[in-house]
Symmetry: C2
Subunit: 218 residues, 2 copies
């Protein structure tokens, strides 16, 4: 495997993994780049190029072994062992995160929950006691947590992320609508539906402008 796989390819691998896992569960054994492309809305050439970074999968004209692709992707993505999360912020969003079944199903276990609100601290969410965020940094040194999940208001998010980083966290899933600042050896991913809506309104605007008066389209 080459050392440097483009980030855009890495970001697509989990999508391949999910689709192929479903195919395997449905009993499918072989899949073509054509089928994968149709299911994911990309070209077969893109599929072949993405998978070629790992250089060991299918053969042209014969398709890919679903089982082998699933297992290779599982190993590549590090999904063959479990990962532990903490969630900071137990508002409506944090509670929805804590109760989301999709994490556990994919091997992501919530190890601890935190908030600042005295009314929430000591309560249980999904069987886990909510602790005072003041304990976060000390706790993290013992908890063997892999990923910090940030579900606090934007104005408090950087301080929470700084605590996580000081305590050795190297991956942050940030739901707060702000650009997190982290050292270069820390991974951050942003869950931000507003940014995604805004990238769609770009297209909707172009289309609306283009439809009645094509010559206006810039």
């Amino acid at each position: 495997m080459p050392l440097e796989i483009p980030e855009v390819v890495i970001d697509r691998l989990p999508v391949y993994f999910r689709l192929l896992s479903r195919m395997r569960a449905a009993g499918e054994t072989v899949v073509s780049s054509q089928e994968l492309g149709e299911a994911l809305g990309v070209t077969p050439a893109q599929i072949r190029k993405d998978l070629s970074y790992f250089g060991r999968f299918g053969k042209q004209g014969r398709g890919y072994s679903v089982e082998r692709l699933v297992e290779e992707l599982r190993a590549i993505l590090g999904l063959d062992h479990g990962w532990r999360l903490v969630v900071v912020g137990m508002g409506r969003l944090g509670q929805a995160i804590a109760s989301y079944q999709g994490f556990g199903a994919q091997g992501f276990t919530i190890a601890a929950l935190y908030d600042t609100d005295a009314d929430v601290i000591g309560e249980h969410v999904e069987g886990i006691e909510v602790r005072d965020v003041r304990h976060l940094e000390a706790d993290l040194r013992d908890l063997e947590v892999d990923v910090g999940v940030v579900a606090v208001p934007a104005e408090h998010a950087q301080a929470v992320i700084d605590s996580m980083v000081r305590a050795g966290i190297r991956a942050v899933l940030n739901y707060a609508p702000m650009a997190a600042q982290v050292p270069s050896d820390v991974e951050v991913r942003q869950v931000d539906p507003v940014l995604q809506l805004q990238s769609m309104t770009y297209h909707l605007t172009r289309r609306d402008a283009a439809a009645p008066q094509p010559s206006i389209a810039r």
Copy 2:
């Protein structure tokens, strides 16, 4: 403006817009590509390249006018008018979406809510009555909705998306963990924290493997 701006650039524009809006609110009037790059964790060269697609902003060495960038990005992204959403699925996730203050603050108004559960239909979430999803397609023809938000379980998501598309929706924000199939003139964005976690575990795995025994890194 050229007709074709790369998707990766379009996806970054909302991030620029948010940061610059904050800078303007803080009274800043001029910003350099260096400052923007530092705040967003990308190189100044990348910032200049991204903004050059629109060809009218800063001058080398003088920085960008914050006010002008904000207003240009607002127009480019189509944020100078409001957009209307419907949300289908009023489980915990759908309720968190319906009550998320970040949408309204950015001009995204929720026009209607839907569910299939008789216990939920007729209830009010954030002052909006939850309607039976059976009315979705007929309602959409009258509601002038721009974006359909899908917060139903994965196995029901495609049917909901198909209804939306039949009723003329051209942008879908999909929270269901599945690859939505839509015609080529429909935009889809996926909000999927598991995929984002999995793209980070790729990096965590490489790093863990590399740290004790660098020669193992593939």
